[in-house]
């Protein structure tokens, strides 16, 4: 099935729904909830068309569309969107998590329901736009558009220190993104294509039609990278994250952890690496070091948290350190592992926040010492939590393992010492999650409040089951995902490797175990089409 302007439709449908929600009579809470949920579910179904129409093998953009937006050609801004292996699954992750986030707030939010769901839908538009945009200015626009709904979600429906957290969130992000805007403008003028189109600029740079001096490239890289690193968040730019997570409402946390953090890593993949290969290589050791520090630091701090949400927030810092480490290993496994780990983190951490949210709704506290032995009063809930926790830890057979394994494999070849340190992060993550699990779910039921806790109801099951299924599926059958990511990952690596910047270990012949469980007789993508598309 071919739908014209599918990408634009996907992107703007939630926002249109959000405006509709605002127009409905605010008293009809139920109508608003179900409308928002069904709309986002419809967007998810629509996004499945992207996979259905994704040809294999594919290297470049399988779907590209340009909308007639601005009539001034000399501006060079176009409404150019595209899908390739890098963003395909991030788009799906967004459309997948949004309905779950909406469903999870059915009982949690009763204040200003109209604005709440409208903001969630606006947020979805912003996130999808970020992932789909192939024009630098369009990307920047969507990047900023995600800020305000998130600010308001935290600021209005958040916890006690919500205002502090919301302001911190928006200021941190703005600092980075304004530098990025300046860099975008500079890059545009420097390349002289008269266009903000990523593909054209990248083509100019890689073909040598336009060149950046080394200094220019380093500064531009830094301006882009800091914006993305704040969003990821890479140590030491992470301090906004725990505050924002702790204060955000459950749905906000799910989307913040599940999708918004991925925007940073995606930006690095999409912009930093292809546009500034020299600078990326130059900074790679430093960034890898920061990533490993983040892995260890996040895990250690998570270990001592008493608030479950804060614990998960710090675990995010640790997990995303793995993602950055994988990206800057400049190897196919590392890159694919990073892309895969982004999805894993979205699913398992989203689910963890959901789980904490479910408990918070019942007990209005998230402090670990308030609980103990609730596996007895909520057996189903405990079982679901265990699966998710194990997937987050990276138990083989669940999704987290595949991603972390690939990342470590890729980065081991590059820097074995750092990788060895990073591996300890995996053990730490087992420690803090299982320890939390033990303290909350096992042991005697000491508190009376915890005896009467109701187990999961149907709606909560409906939220959790898709996540658990995905965690299992991605753990045992990663082939369909990795296969679609491979071509695009190669394209990203190409400018770096073609410049002979990376030592031989990342060369094509070191490519056997791209997937840990290669299906028999799988067709590998021919290594030949390695030129940058649209060159």
């Amino acid at each position: 099935m071919k739908i014209p302007y599918l990408l634009a439709l996907l992107t703007y449908l939630p926002a249109a729904g959000g405006i509709l929600v605002l127009l409905v009579n605010g008293a009809q809470e139920k109508v608003i909830r179900w409308f928002a949920f069904l709309l986002s579910a419809a967007v998810f179904v629509l996004s499945l068309l992207l996979v259905a129409s994704y040809p294999l093998p594919a290297a470049g953009y399988v779907l590209e569309e340009t909308l007639g937006w601005l009539q001034v050609p000399q501006l060079g801004i176009t409404h150019h969107m595209g899908v390739d292996g890098v963003n395909l699954f991030l788009v799906l992750l967004t459309t997948f998590l949004t309905p779950i986030a909406i469903l999870s707030s059915f009982t949690a939010v009763h204040r200003k329901v109209q604005s709440y769901y409208a903001l969630l839908l606006f947020l979805e538009t912003g996130m999808l736009g970020v992932f789909l945009a192939l024009d630098l200015v369009l990307f920047y626009l969507f990047w900023e558009v995600t800020l305000v709904p998130m600010y308001l979600l935290i600021g209005i429906w958040g916890g006690e220190r919500r205002i502090y957290a919301a302001v911190k969130f928006i200021l941190y992000t703005m600092v980075g993104s304004l530098l990025m805007l300046v860099a975008i403008l500079y890059l545009h003028l420097q390349t002289g294509t008269g266009s903000f189109d990523l593909l054209r600029i990248a083509g100019q740079l890689s073909s040598g039609a336009a060149a950046l001096t080394r200094t220019q490239e380093l500064w531009l890289f830094l301006a882009f990278f800091v914006a993305f690193a704040i969003k990821v968040p890479l140590f030491p730019f992470h301090t906004w994250l725990p505050d924002a997570h702790v204060e955000a409402p459950t749905a906000g946390s799910i989307l913040l952890a599940g999708v918004l953090l991925k925007m940073g890593a995606y930006g690095i993949l999409r912009f930093c690496l292809p546009l500034f290969p020299h600078a990326s290589t130059a900074f790679a050791p430093l960034i890898s070091l920061l990533a490993v520090i983040g892995i260890i630091y996040g895990a250690l701090v998570a270990l001592v948290q008493t608030d479950m949400k804060k614990l998960i927030a710090y675990s995010s810092v640790s997990h995303l350190g793995f993602v950055v480490l994988g990206i800057f290993s400049f190897s196919l496994q590392g890159l694919q592992g990073a892309s895969y780990q982004m999805l894993n983190h979205g699913i398992s951490t989203g689910a963890l926040f959901l789980i904490v949210g479910i408990l918070y709704e019942r007990r209005h506290t998230r402090r670990i010492e308030e609980f103990g032995g609730i596996a007895r009063s909520m057996p189903h809930y405990a079982a679901a939590t265990l699966i998710i926790a194990l997937s987050s830890i990276g138990l083989p057979g669940l999704n987290g393992f595949v991603g972390e394994f690939l990342i470590l494999l890729g980065s081991f070849a590059k820097n074995s010492a750092l990788t060895a340190v990073a591996v300890t992060g995996v053990f730490f993550s087992a420690a803090y999650l299982l320890w939390m699990y033990q303290r909350v779910y096992f042991g005697p039921l000491t508190r009376d409040e915890n005896r009467q806790l109701a187990d999961l109801d149907r709606r909560e099951w409906a939220c959790l089951i898709p996540l658990i299924l995905m965690a299992v599926w991605m753990g045992i059958y990663s082939q369909p995902f990795l296969q679609r990511m491979e071509g695009a990952s190669r394209n990203i690596l190409h400018p770096i490797q073609s410049n002979q910047l990376v030592a031989r270990e990342a060369s094509p012949d070191f490519r056997p175990a791209a997937s840990p469980k290669p299906a028999a007789g799988e067709s590998r993508i021919a290594p030949e089409p390695r030129s940058f598309p649209h060159e």
Binding site: L22, G26, W69, L70, Q71, V72, L75, K112, Q114, S115, V137, Y140, L141, E144, V145, L147, V148, Y151, L152, G155, I156, R162, I163, A166, V167, I170, L171, M174, V175, L178, L179, L181, V182, L185, Y186, L189, Q190
Partner: protein, 533 residues
């Protein structure tokens, strides 16, 4: 002195020959010997001043005479007369635009070029919004009268004269007409001490600034022998080296004089006080119209007549930097929204200065013009919401007054959010487009001629935008998360005028933000054929 053998020159000898021969629109000599000639001459040139004359006519007849004739309770009609004047002036301006009635008029003192058409439209829009906002506001203040609207129209005429002026004398006349109207308008709430005080402050500093500006003009006249901007440009470029310090002094005096009018730091001290004390519609008009008019003069002078003068770039650059720092830091401390918007207006002036500093070749004029137009809409929008908050007995201009607005008036709170986001420059609102144009111009200039000043300015602009975000979000925070006040607050003072103003400004803010090409094309039009006269 230089008396020749012919003896002391008579008065007629002092008059240059070309003063007998006025030139018409085609630049043909046009002898003025008889009354009929004179009338014919003015007939030919008056078309250029059509919009101004319309406004004058309606201000004098529509507003002032109606004021005398109408009974007290229907004084509001004078406001409608002002609206009529603006409508007719707009129509006249539109005809000038459509017919391409461009050229130099009144013996090379007035020009109609795309730049002036663009800004006249901007001034008319600002005047329209001011009148719409005033209709109900002045009723609440019990100061409804015809002079008020007449003065708004006169100030608009002053601005329009300024933007058309290509002679120091014309600039001065327009500037004073505008400034004096504002002195009175700011103090229009006679029984309000704050208003009195604001009026005195703007008057003293405004008159002082005019004096300094004039002294600069007189030096320029002495250095070049002419008051025409085009002659000025030629003469300054050819000026001998020993005059350089004197030229620089004159230019600095002009910077000081105009710096007061655009409220750039360190000439800004009148602005917060005047903005806070003035009737709110006038505050909006002052922060948009008066600033835009002064900027048009700055653009004409600095990018037209003073291009060959060395040194002003550095002075203005430092002024812009200081404006960024002081405007934003002072805004952080405010608890009064009007005052906060005053400081925000100061920091916006710095962004507009960035466009000027980027220079003409790099799209600086278009950037500044577009910024001013966008600023008109978003700023008027924010002030319109502020006017809604003004109710009988409640000033409604403290940040605390906005507490919990989302619960009482969700639509108004959402619109205010749009205006504040736009002022902060966050997409997809118009404010982002404005900042985008300015940054694009300054970076383009930096890439052509790298200089530490341009780089510092670009970075300062980016940092200032983050700080600005913080103080705009003080209001957002109050609206969305503040504790709602007592239940028995009187309803907001809605009226057709304010509603219309809010709809226009919010619509423009969003529309321009999502489809910016129209505004960019308009800005490019404003910068086209620039200085071709």
């Amino acid at each position: 002195m230089e008396t020749t053998g012919a003896g002391i020159p008579g008065p007629m000898d002092l008059i240059p020959r070309h003063y007998f021969f006025y030139t018409n629109a085609m630049n043909e000599p046009f002898p003025l010997k008889t009354v009929a000639d004179t009338l014919a001459y003015f007939g030919q040139n008056m078309g250029a001043l059509g919009p101004e004359l319309q406004l004058l006519l309606w201000a004098l007849i529509g507003c002032m005479i109606l004021e005398v004739l109408l009974p007290d309770q229907s004084k509001r009609l004078t406001g409608y007369a002002a609206l009529g004047g603006i409508a007719f002036a707009s129509f006249h301006l539109y005809k000038i635009y459509v017919n391409g009635f461009l050229g130099v008029f009144f013996n090379e003192t007035t020009v109609i070029d795309p730049f002036s058409i663009f800004f006249k439209a901007l001034f008319l829009a600002a005047a329209l919004l001011t009148v719409l906002l005033s209709l109900r506001f002045m009723e609440i203040e019990n100061e409804q009268s015809g002079e008020y609207y007449a003065l708004i129209l006169l100030a608009t005429i002053g601005m329009m004269v300024m933007v058309s002026a290509i002679d120091l004398l014309t600039i001065y006349i327009g500037l004073e007409l505008m400034a004096m109207s504002f002195y009175i308008l700011v103090g229009y709430l006679r029984r309000n001490r704050l208003s009195n005080e604001a009026s005195l402050k703007i008057f003293l500093l405004g008159a002082f600034a005019s004096g300094i500006l004039l002294y600069g003009f007189s030096l320029l006249y002495g250095l070049t022998g002419s008051t025409q901007l085009s002659v000025l440009a030629r003469q300054l470029a050819a000026a001998p080296a020993q005059n350089r310090e004197m030229i620089f002094l004159a230019v600095v005096l002009v910077i000081v004089g105009l710096g007061f009018k655009i409220a750039a730091v360190p000439f800004h001290m009148w602005a917060p006080d005047a903005y806070q004390g003035a009737p709110t519609p006038i505050t909006a008009f002052l922060s948009v119209g008066s600033k835009a008019a002064a900027f048009t003069v700055m653009l004409r002078l600095f990018l037209g007549s003073f291009v060959s003068v060395k040194g002003w770039f550095l002075v203005l650059g430092v002024v812009a930097l200081m404006t960024f720092v002081v405007g934003n830091l002072a805004a952080l401390l405010q608890t009064n929204v009007k005052r906060l918007l005053a400081y925000s207006s100061i920091s916006h002036a710095a962004y507009i200065l960035l466009g000027l500093l980027a220079g003409r070749e790099f799209g600086g004029i278009a950037a500044s013009s577009g910024y001013l137009l966008i600023y008109t809409f978003m700023n008027f929008g924010a002030f319109a919401v502020l006017i809604l908050m003004r109710r009988k007995g409640i000033p409604g201009d403290q940040i605390a007054d906005f507490n919990g607005l989302i619960f009482r008036h969700p639509v108004i709170a959402s619109l205010m959010l749009i205006f504040l986001l736009s002022l902060a420059g966050i997409p997809p609102t118009a404010g982002f487009i404005a900042k985008y144009m300015v940054f694009a111009a300054i970076i383009k200039a930096y890439m052509a001629q790298p200089s530490a000043m341009l780089l510092t300015l670009a970075i300062a602009g980016a940092v200032a935008a983050v700080v600005a975000l913080y103080y705009y979000f003080l209001i957002v925070k109050a609206m969305f998360t503040g504790e709602s006040q007592a239940e028995d607050l009187p309803a907001l003072s809605f009226s057709p005028g304010v509603t219309a103003a809010i709809v226009i400004t919010a619509g423009m803010t969003m529309w321009v933000g999502i489809f910016p090409d129209t505004i960019m094309r308009m800005a490019a039009y404003a910068a086209s054929n620039w200085g071709a006269w």
